[in-house]
Amino acid sequence: MNDIFNLSRRGFLKTSALAGGGLVLGVYLPELSSPAEAAQQRVSTFAPNAFIRIAPDDTVTILINHSEMGQGTFTGLSMLVAEELDADWRKVRAEHAPVDSAYNHVGYGAQMVGGSTSTWTEWERLRKAGATARAMLIAAAAETWNVDGSSCRAQNGQVVHAASKRQLSYGRLAEKASTMTPPQNVALKDPKDFKLIGKPIKRLDTPEKSNGAGIFGLDVNVPGMLVAVIARPPVFGGKVKSFDGEKAKAVAGVRHVVEIDRGIAVVADGFWPAKLGREALEIAWDEGPLATLDSGMQREQYAELAKQPGAIAKKEGDVATAMSQAAKRLDAVYELPYLAHAPMEPLNCVADVREDSCEVWTGTQFQTGDREAAAQAAELKPEQVKLHTTLLGGGFGRRAIFDCHFVRETVQVSKAVKVPVKVIWTREDDIRGGYYRPRTYHSVSACLDAAGNPAAWQQRIVCQSFIVGTPFESVIVKEGVDEVAVEGASNLPYDIPNLLVDWQRAPGGVPTLWWRSVGHSHTAFVVETFLDELAHAAGQDPYEYRRALLGKHPRHKQVLEFVAEKAGWSKPLAAGRGRGIALHESFGSFVAQVAEVSVSKEGKVKVHRVVCAIDCGPVVNPAQVRAQMEGGIVFGLTAALYGEITFEKGRVKQRNFHDYPMLRMNEMPVVEAHIVPSTEKMGGVGETGVPPIAPALANAVFAVTGKRIRRLPIRAEDLRKA
């Protein structure tokens, strides 16, 4: 999913005047040259985009089509526009774009955010939008002054005519500019002239996130709105057999009890009565085929599947022959659990369904799908649905769902009770609500030649697919292999002449989904810890061992060398501490990390320091690249140290932060995030800090204890001193 989509330069532009003055600039982006190319590049047709609004008071509002969920799109994407617009940064505001195909992701053909793609996919489109607006503002000023446009220049929100010492602000020029003919081909700045891009610019949304003013989905209030909580089946795939809502209705404040597709909704004056009402519901469930699901039994099932060959994701050379001739052979099994995203803001949605319209407010990563789903549930056309994107209290993939269930169910409830309704998920609903990172079981073997170099590597991955059966199947599943199940393993960067990676699809049932860094969240752990085992078996330093195998991958090698230097890899550590290194490419970026840990007698792991280096190509906002590395490391540490969703009698055992814990302040290591200067292809940052941390941590634990971690989360009992 890393290829840069080829945006043709054959764009054309359109403008329209805003009611009340001001300029709205739309940039139409082109169709690709042939249907075959379009299909290959997964680009659907482009429609008009309006990204910039300039008001008479000089405020420049950037309409952001990649939801702000903490990753910094409000700031980073605004910088792209403002740079080429030569806007006054102090006058720049960001807000979420409405839903329109004009705002579709250029790679996904739908309005959505994910895959660490927001910056690089907008790199050209948004800069062009800014440059075009600038050209039109200059043209407007030149006409006003009756001078040649080439004698005027834009700077800091003004058009200046130096010869006559005249200047006009963008706000004053906006209305006239909107009548100018947009230029066909605008020149973009030479990167050496960038004033914003590449600088550590502070986030635009910090003030509203420091005084409670920012509006998240949960904060939306609509006149006449009621609040609902929903009783959903205790077992995935279950259904309501029968229910009695009388006791729930008897709770003061409860207004309605209604059955919807996914369960029973209790609708009340507020959250508290709705929750008490749900507790008073009497429901008989048909638990369905997963009623006996048990994590221990599932483990045996996965182990059995791992004995059978799967669909081949990667094959090079002849693994079997190499194994038979090997000087040394290693075999290992790695296991990783289901994981919940657990964004701090539990899922929620507000819907107001009327006879001929439907309005939806929610923090979503998938506007196109959600609007479609709302229309279906309301029995209306998509154009009758107005969807407002609020701030997202974390996403991590959980808010981009093909079935759009959290929107669909809210629309169903509002339609049933005929008033605006906010559905709130409790933390328990969230932890037990499914759509997990899939559980995985990896069976790995490798052999070394006489010099200790890896001669063959064989990896079988067993896990569910959340792509098969969705609209993305045709582009992500190739020759029977779900790419996102094997990504990070099927493209090993190391020089290993014989390679076989295959995939066994585990049976479905438990809803699974992309979870920050997707397949890389498990493949990086397995690849980078097993490679460490090979280095140890070869009697070599794990950093030098990797480095020697990266001859064909200079970006990998450079970032590895960079982190080793910054971490002081060759320098001695304090007694009782161990150091581990890991490297991983994902979403077009290359990240290496070194973790320093100690392990107590009781087997408790303490992470002291993490040094991180990223090569993500040209950097738009280094401050946010570093923030994403810091955040990704915490996200990955939480998973490695604590994260695990398990099943007993079909039910999820965990329910809240006491049994699905998060890393806390007292466990926070010192994180040093470094950016490797690079002019290579631009990659992503939102997810790429996550994959290397679990293996770096596990390798550090090995360095200090001599014990290999082959299943996550790390368990104290595995590390306790005898």
Binding site: N211, L218, I633, M668
Partner: protein, 156 residues
């Protein structure tokens, strides 16, 4: 009918006495800066001050707040002038931002009681507040900065 003072303003609310303060603030009074995260006092997103003490409003029945003074994030300052808010902006702390009201309200009590907390004291005071985006390192720096800003302000 229950009386309470929120951000120096009197309110009379008509809700069941077991209703958590969080929902009275958010739904009855309309102050949505205080967030719902867990409902079990495990994450700190709902932290407010009750007579000056940091409490988890998601498990504080409104009956306990009756007759008392509540301060929420909206009452910390009217113009982002509180040293913690200035420090949060200077250190670029928030990512998604959802937990930050609770973080700031917890930090405000810490700073009131300890004008120059050490890292260990910050750990003690702030470990009840979860940030899923992982902004802890910046929260720590921002608390140290706020302590310096506050000391400077006090010297004037």
């Amino acid at each position: 009918m229950l009386k309470l003072k929120v951000n120096r303003k009197d309110h009379v609310v008509d809700v069941s006495p077991d209703t958590p303060l969080l929902w009275v603030l958010r739904e009855t009074i309309g102050l949505t800066g205080t967030k719902f995260g867990c409902g079990m006092a495990l994450c700190g997103a709902c932290t407010v001050h009750l007579n000056g003490e940091a409490v988890r409003s998601c498990v504080t029945p409104i009956s306990r707040a009756a007759g008392k003074e509540v301060t929420t994030i909206e009452g910390l300052s009217t113009n982002l002038s509180h040293p913690l808010q200035r420090a949060w902006i200077a250190e670029d702390v928030p990512q998604c931002g959802y937990c930050q009201s609770g973080q700031i309200m917890a930090a405000a009590v810490l700073l009131r009681e300890n004008s120059h907390p050490t890292d260990a004291e910050i750990d003690d005071a702030m470990s009840g507040n979860i940030c899923r985006c992982g902004t802890y390192q910046r929260i720590r720096s921002a608390i140290h900065l706020a302590a310096r800003l506050k000391a400077k302000g006090g010297a004037k």
